[in-house]
Amino acid sequence: MSVNHQIFLAGFGGQGILFAGKYLVYTGMMAGYEVSWMPSYGPEMRGGTCNCSVNISDEPIDSPIILHPTILCAMNLPSLDKFENSTVPGGRVFIDSSLIERKPARDDVQNFLIPATGLAREQNMIKLANMILVGKIIREIGLDDPALIEKTMTKVVPAKKPELFDWNMKALQVGMGL
């Protein structure tokens, strides 16, 4: 089956949207796929919303900008409001249900309600809700091989901060276990 994941991650600045995207783009490359990562940029990022597009495909990536994601990850209500309808029919929508109280509006997509921020708080890893969601996403799309995860994490976490490696791994495991 051909792989063509068009992943759109959106939330507030500071929620680790770009880092989550960075993990996904690296893991896609390490799994042997063509990949791209494209952030939102400019003044809109100053304290406001933040998003990024990640393509993972077995074909060369034509456009790095994703307009109709196959996978949407919404970490706040404005992002869900804004991007829910752009998701392709049959796509998957991952919602941080700790922060988004409303129910998903689409029934032609697969909705995943993950209380990521609440889980992160319980596990004393408040800043890692993003990676809990990533854990769930990689499990759903099958990029969850333990060796791949470890190799990817080595690439995305700075070697100077080994404690971050363990925390991020733990968060991924939480997400994968859901």
């Binding site: 960075k22 490359m29 990949v35 990562w37 494209m38 940029y41 400019g42 990536i61 456009s63 790095p64």
Partner: protein
Amino acid sequence: MSEKVIMKGNEALAEAAIRAGCKCFFGYPITPQTEVAAYMAKRMPKVGGVYLQAESEIAAINMIYGAAASGARCMTSSSSPGISLKAEGISYICGADLPAVIVNMTRGGPGLGGIQPAQSDYYQATRGLGHGDARLLVFAPASIQEMCDLMTTAFDLADKYRMPAMILGDGAIGQMMEPVILPEPATRTIDKPWAATGTELKRAHNIVNSLYLQPDQLEDNVRARFERYVQIEATEPRCEEYLADDADILITAYGISSRIVKSAIKKARAEGIKAGLLRPITLWPFPKAVLKKHAAHAKAFLDVELNMGQMIDDVRMAIEYARPVEFAGRTGGIIITPDEILAKLREMEAK
């Protein structure tokens, strides 16, 4: 062979420049290319190079003029409004026959415009930036890998022809991350006997200059430069041909928009529309011969750009107005979608 790494376009560009032998970088912050300067600030001191944040774009390009005049491989980087400020210095660099690399990560204009990706500086880049009869080599990469590979080419050709070379990117190419294999560091050095590096009392003094008060001398100088331009137009044009040989409708597009065109072409082909792409990699020299060759079989051309239609002039001239040339584009920082291009292809196919 270097390892495949994932890098942001602006950072990969900076690293590729260092590997191509760039010894001096002078710049000034502007979105969406500031990461180039930030990367250079971090890396240049470690490789024995020079990084300096100038007080303005004007100062930065004149620092480039000085570094180039004294023999250093050097580069500056900016985005559209900053490039306008550099126009003065670029004209002097042309007039004094100096090699240098200038990067424009284009954003929407005119004026302060916006900060999102655009291709609205095509005229500025290809019609000779700044005053006077002059040209720049203009490279339009469509991926981070190609941008890195073209960096070495840009420096080498700038040295070979003693003229500035521009990497014309856009906000998307600068901001996105893609896997890239970085080029191996360049090892060869280029002899620059004309450079102002000090006479060591062993030769007559070198003068780096663009002033010729006698009109006949100035004309001789400009004509000599244009002889090089003729040679460049004959030997240096580059163009990617994608599904072009059997195409009824040939799309012309460069840089980021060419990637979106490819998506549209795949969809069009699935519907039985025989569309293809001609992607100029060098915008000057423009790959006229390739376009002309394909005009023999194509029924029509469609030019796609992130502006109101600028390269379309070159397309029409290259095919000598032999086929209709239509246009599809978005501007202001909006990136055209594959569906918009597909709709235009369907409309043209129905004609």
